[in-house]
Amino acid sequence: MSVSLRDVTVRRRGKTILGPLSIDLDAAGFSIVLGPNGAGKTTFLKILHGVERVTDGTAEWSVSAEEARQAQAYVFQSPIMLRRSVGQNLAYPLQLLGMDKADVAKRVLDWAGRIGLSDALERPAPRLSGGERQKLALGRALIRSPKVLFLDEPCANLDGRSTREIETLLLAAQRDGTRIIMTTHDLGQARRLASDIVFLLNGQVHERAPASEFFTTPKTVEAKAFMEGDIVE
């Protein structure tokens, strides 16, 4: 399922933090959203997902709003932990669907293994280390096998090995038909994963291109400077 934003603007406290911006994202692929801090990446993802209110314009999915929401999952930049154990956090999205207990338990065990938290199932989630939380949030998003997956810097606090494992998981999910839209500040990671790049600057889509093209021949000076870690103004 694809989505199109039309003249979307987000204003908060009188300041425009995103837009006006129009963009189409189609049903397949692995889009990576790049941009400096405060560019509006998180806001952009939240608008697509529908958890942030737009001030102006429309965001429309090719399917009904209800269906779209049900098929999506989101991993927030600062992971939100339910005040429950790790196992209960993983089970929660399944319980919402009314899945029966035995099934839930099986899937929870399976996913706890995949994200490397099998030992921590009984631990209170709010007490996890920074990296463990990110993994838990990822597992909780993937456990429902969403059709569209939003990831906001999901590997920021992960060690090298975990990052690699998560990347493998994500590529597998994409192969299985999951549409992924992700932000990251790790350009290496972007190169490894992206099929296309959305480059945001000051709340605007500054450049959009297939990944290969963007990294080899960026069209704007700002994108080039950004990749070199230079001043982007």
Binding site: Y74, L96, P126
Partner: protein, 234 residues
């Protein structure tokens, strides 16, 4: 001052001799207050939570009104319930006046706004924390409320205990709708008011200390059961 000692002594005597009347009115106090607490909580916890998660036009006004209703004067509540339940009132045929049921009704009206207000305030923080996740997971209103109440159950304890405290110590309303009838609707607070009227301060204080001891007991029991303080806010 002597009277305060005499009161403590009276309380002591009442308790060790397990005075029959005392046991009866104490049990009735508990029955009425706990019933009122359960009913009020069943209304106020979901309602307060709902108010925390829902944005609508008159939200602020609703909250201000709810807060104002915490100041409902018990005597007025008592009067209105009396007028409704009186034989010449609309629900007169049910014959509820001067029964414990009537007292429970009055207390529910008095403590529901209190519990709902505290619930609302406590749930706002939790909702701010959970907001994005619960929206993202496409939860229904009902699921959101259930999740918040469950995960916030320890912070909701204060709300319930405040309600219980208000109920168990309240006298104005239940005096009017219960009538303080011996062996039928007399509870600790109305008995205290009665003894005060007779100028028997020692006995009044004695009953008062029994009531306070009861409140302490209930609170310690609930705290022990819920282990509120074990692991910080979690």
């Amino acid at each position: 001052m002597n009277e305060i000692w005499a009161g403590i002594l009276a309380a002591f005597r009442l308790i060790v001799t397990l005075d029959g009347d005392l046991v009866e009115i104490t049990l009735r106090s508990l029955q009425v207050s706990l019933s009122a607490l359960v009913i009020a909580s069943a209304i106020a916890l979901p309602f307060g939570t709902w108010l925390a998660i829902r944005r609508f036009r008159y939200r602020r006004a609703t909250i201000a009104t709810l807060n104002a209703l915490m100041g409902l004067p018990p005597v007025v509540v008592g009067l209105i319930v009396y007028l409704l339940l009186s034989r010449s009132g609309p629900f007169g045929v049910m014959g509820l006046l001067f029964t414990p049921t009537a007292m429970i009704i009055a207390q529910v009206i008095i403590i529901t706004p209190l519990i709902a207000s505290i619930t609302h305030q406590a749930m706002r923080e939790l909702w701010a924390e959970y907001h994005d996740l619960l929206i993202s997971l496409n939860t229904s209103k009902r699921q959101r409320i259930a999740t918040l109440i469950w995960d916030g159950r320890r912070t909701l304890l204060t709300a319930a205990l405040a309600g219980f405290g208000r109920a168990i110590g309240e006298v104005g309303a239940i005096m009017i709708v219960g009538g303080n009838i011996d062996h039928a609707t007399r509870v600790l607070t109305t008995a205290i008011a009665l003894e005060t009227g007779k100028g028997d301060f020692a006995l009044a204080l004695g009953l008062g200390f029994v009531l306070i001891a009861l409140a302490l007991l209930v609170n310690f029991a609930i705290h022990a059961l819920s282990r509120t303080e074990r692991e910080g806010t979690w």
